[in-house]
Subunit: 340 residues, 2 copies
Amino acid sequence: MKRPTIADIARRAGVSKGAVSYALNGQPGVSEATRKRILSIAQEIGFNANSAARALSGARARAVGLTLCRPARILGIEPWFMGLISGFEAELGARSYALTLQVVATPEQEVEVYRRWWGERRIDGVIVTDIREGDIRIPVLQQLQLPAVVIGGPGDTGPIAQIWSDDAGAITEAVRYLVALGHHRIARVSGNADLLHTRNRTTAFESVCASLGLDHALTIPADYTGEEGSRATRRLLIGGDRPTAIIYDNDVMAVAGLAVAQEMGLSVPGDLSIVAWDDSPLCSLVHPPLTALSRDISAYGAQAARELLAAIDGQKVGNVEAGRVHLTPRGSTAPPRQDL
Amino acid sequence: MKRPTIADIARRAGVSKGAVSYALNGQPGVSEATRKRILSIAQEIGFNANSAARALSGARARAVGLTLCRPARILGIEPWFMGLISGFEAELGARSYALTLQVVATPEQEVEVYRRWWGERRIDGVIVTDIREGDIRIPVLQQLQLPAVVIGGPGDTGPIAQIWSDDAGAITEAVRYLVALGHHRIARVSGNADLLHTRNRTTAFESVCASLGLDHALTIPADYTGEEGSRATRRLLIGGDRPTAIIYDNDVMAVAGLAVAQEMGLSVPGDLSIVAWDDSPLCSLVHPPLTALSRDISAYGAQAARELLAAIDGQKVGNVEAGRVHLTPRGSTAPPRQDL
DNA sequence: CCACATCACTGAACCGGGTAAGTTGTGGAG
DNA sequence: CTCCACAACTTACCCGGTTCAGTGATGTGG
């Protein structure tokens, strides 16, 4: 069953290939009557333009790329990426762009994938996540002149578009809230320390704690996995001067922390308050449900996709702040018990 | 910065385009010396064959498609899909096939996407998940002659390759284990009732319970989300003759069930044993860690990708059983208390 | 009534690889 | 010395859209 081409349409309509191309693309150069006839034939025989042929002449692949550089076991459980992907899709689907995905192990591999994709003209642009201080991908993207949008930051990405959320404001809000509840000893379990947004959060956390006169502003570095989250929590809760509240950099570590508290016989929120970053269904799933810093991840992804499509279209795009992060109080935070 | 083509290589090597093509593809027709020279020039200028041009002549897009038909909020939290995707990647990456993704809302939209992708020659085959009884996608795939692999089942997919895991055996093992611990009242909270593997599991569950003389083999239908998991669990635990053990069709609902038990003041595993399906990090994250029916999802995905690539290569592929599912006992299962 | 613009289209080149068919040049057999 | 086989190429066309430079027909203003 051969798939139909514009030549087939041209033959049936009794016109040339060129006329069919004009008609299908809404270009001037054909009469309304002919255009209608061509469109109805295309409809009838189920015509879809060969994307390869189109890309070959038009130089647009109508696809964007995304690499995921996290171990499989954390990718699976982190709602973040899938939320982001759904957001992309909403925009890309509407413009019938495809999303091409690749899971990689290292930033070096990501660079390789970018080079290959771009060299193959497989994609028109990429969405870059998990950026680091002095990320090796940035200069490569610039050198290749590959349209891109960086998610995360804010940080220095040169001329490359960037979209970020106000993590500093969010963590400030969370700390203020805990202090208002009466907490003095607040700790934080962070994600990978080399990621830019982790650094931004750490800096902001330390500065707000200092400004509020809290001297126990300890950040324990972890890596977003449940195991590390448990380990860090145990370390915090074993100590003599243990915190009465912990802020986690993602929901997975927060859930792990809750389990550790339960396992150690501490009640949440009685003995320990917990705040999760990135509100996902996971936070409402456990008992007690977790207070979280919420943002609309899907909308974040959609906005990133829009920026990227604009960049591909050659429009000037810059540094955009995504929708606000806000605190969603649930059952895992309360005033600390008096004797603590 | 124009991206290099074989014509550039040909010019620099002083040969024709044809010779370059033969050299790069390992075809006979060029001397070893020339081949080496051409390859080193290609290396030097960072040549990557334009995938569009290649697809246009060779008729292979070197990409496969995957549609995800679940609401975004469940996609994010379900480790299953990401596990599967990582598995695909392992195989696809090695053969430098790309994975193209689309999130859709309905099976009808999935069909549309298949038609478009195939019409556009954007992909060489698709991986089909979440099949239903009398799935509308199967006849369309056959009609389009689009190479495909169906994940899930076993069921009737006609000539289309299928890969499935022995869900019936797994649930039998879980029930036998619970009975051996002393449980008599075992319930199950299932995923979407219209999915084929849900039906297979339900049938197997009922049959093993009947054969072991358990008369309380109740399956409550849910939809894999935490909310439905909680709802179903509450319904089960409110009743007078409440079960002493519940088997959940996924990990998310199992975690939600655990939270409901805690919220109702029941101890797990003392008052209630819990078994989750699909062991993911989530199961080890909570307290107590959940006994689960484990399978290597990544390996499952990798095998599916291999089958699909074989089907694309025109090889005959059939009905394959994936690696075994096995029970991983953890802290959420124990003998029921004597008075229950 | 003619010059000129406009419309609706045709024909052909082009994108960048793949590949069948044709063309050299070389060496060995007869 | 000639003929032939074969390696090592070159040439030319194919894939299926896009696009630009024509072309003939029609309309229009002076």
